[in-house]
């Protein structure tokens, strides 16, 4: 399946460079490039789609505007380094993931594909911390009995660790399509509609390693 990509970058050279580099990666088709927020609305991106944002300093307000304009596309932001609080703000504003500028081309391509499916793209430890922080802001969910198969529990556990579908599939040596099928079953059983909701459900019920949870005490 092809992921359609829109590049958002301030400078002409950056836009041209991203188009040339990412257009040659398997599974990615560059649908266009924009330099101003107003231009984004003019793009009709088929699904699955992602927007790569390469600007010197990403503002949560921009993220909200882009999200409001192209709601179905994954939003992947290039950053100089990872900061937990900034990450949480950007995720709350509608970002799908963040990736640092010194990543490899392979990691970026993989992140774009995952973001196009709405998967949170972050380093695994940061993703767990961000999920825990987001879960703390969630209203308590009604307790009910949910019966998950062993495989579904494994998938949900990995989801709660912040893994993408590909990471989960690779960890369990299953196809991505099979993992997606397990996730659909999990969503149905948990009565949730998205992976973020499922991940938050799992985090709220302790699907995070104890040592990770212990290191999260300072997150507010």
């Amino acid at each position: 399946m092809t992921t359609y990509l829109l590049v958002f970058a301030n400078s002409n050279l950056h836009r041209a460079a991203w188009q040339a580099l990412l257009g040659s990666q398997p599974g990615i088709s560059v649908a266009g490039a924009a330099g101003e927020l107003a231009q984004i609305a003019s793009f009709q991106l088929p699904s699955p789609a992602a927007i790569l944002v390469d600007v010197p300093s990403v503002q949560a307000e921009w993220v909200r505007e882009i999200r409001a304009t192209l709601a179905h596309a994954g939003l992947l932001l290039l950053v100089d380094s990872y900061d937990l609080n900034e990450t949480i703000d950007l995720l709350r504003a509608g970002a799908t993931g963040l990736i640092v500028r010194d990543s490899s081309v392979g990691d970026l391509a993989r992140g774009i594909i995952a973001a196009s499916r709405g998967e949170i793209v972050l380093p695994q430890q940061l993703a767990t911390k961000a999920l825990v922080a987001l879960a703390r802001g969630e209203a308590g969910q009604e307790e009910r009995s949910v019966s998950l198969t062993e495989r579904e529990q494994e998938v949900l556990y990995l989801l709660a660790q912040g893994h993408t579908n590909k990471d989960i599939a690779q960890s369990l040596f299953l196809s991505v399509r099979t993992v997606e099928a397990h996730l659909r079953n999990i969503y149905g059983k948990l009565s949730v509609t998205s992976r973020t909701e499922a991940a938050l459900w799992a985090v709220n019920r302790g699907y995070v390693l104890k040592d990770q949870a212990a290191s999260l005490g300072d997150i507010t």
Binding site: P26, D107, R110, I113, K166, A169, F173, L174, S175, T178
Partner: protein, 201 residues
């Protein structure tokens, strides 16, 4: 059993160091082929330990330089199905050793002159190479034949296990061309496997 209940599986043969040479089935052609097939699961002749360590220096160049980087950045999931290091090349002393060397030269010429990946993986050239590989093993003695048998048995069993764990996945097994014929034959013996040409996967 209905066809839709059978796992779709194909076995693709590779040429190790030859892929680096300017032949039609070079590294780019292999890469393009696997991108086009886009299997769900890519079963490779490497051990779990090699996979988990992330150290791929012992692996053939087509794995290191083409297939593993491709899988890393796409949805293709790598499944290590090797049980140990592949058997060493058949060897013998005296006239048998010389005959093996000569046969190996013939195999090399056949493969280098193949006009396409298809010509390596099917047709008269493929069958001739299989016959020559088999002859080298017979010349090297029973130990060489047993080692190949054990290795291909393991690859086949692991591929079956993978298929049965995820029966709806499209599986591509990529192994050295000398094993692919044997593995295809063994997989065909199982009714729940639909062994296809890689072009039909």
């Amino acid at each position: 059993m209905l066809d839709k209940e059978r796992t779709r599986i194909a076995v693709l043969g590779t040429l190790a160091e030859f892929h680096r040479e300017p032949i039609p089935y070079d590294m780019s052609a292999l890469l393009e082929l696997v991108v086009d097939i886009s299997p769900d699961l890519l079963c490779l002749d490497m051990t779990q330990e090699q996979w988990l360590s992330g150290l791929f220096t012992d692996l053939p160049p087509e794995y290191r330089e083409a297939l593993l980087p491709l899988a890393h950045q796409t949805d293709i999931v790598v499944v290590p199905i090797g049980g140990g290091h592949p058997p060493v090349k058949p060897e013998a002393g005296g006239w048998r050793g010389k005959a093996i060397e000569w046969l190996r030269g013939q195999i090399g010429s056949l493969q280098r002159a193949a006009p396409s990946p298809d010509a390596i993986n099917q047709g008269w050239r493929h069958h001739a190479a299989n016959w020559l590989y088999s002859a080298t093993r017979r010349l090297a003695g029973i130990k060489a034949s047993k080692a190949i048998r054990k290795h291909t048995d393991h690859l086949t069993e692991e591929a079956l296990n993978v298929a049965r764990r995820d029966p709806n996945a499209r599986m591509l097994v990529v192994v050295n061309v000398q094993y692919c014929h044997i593995i295809r034959e063994r997989l065909r013996a199982y009714k729940d496997m639909e062994v296809l040409s890689y072009t039909d996967l």
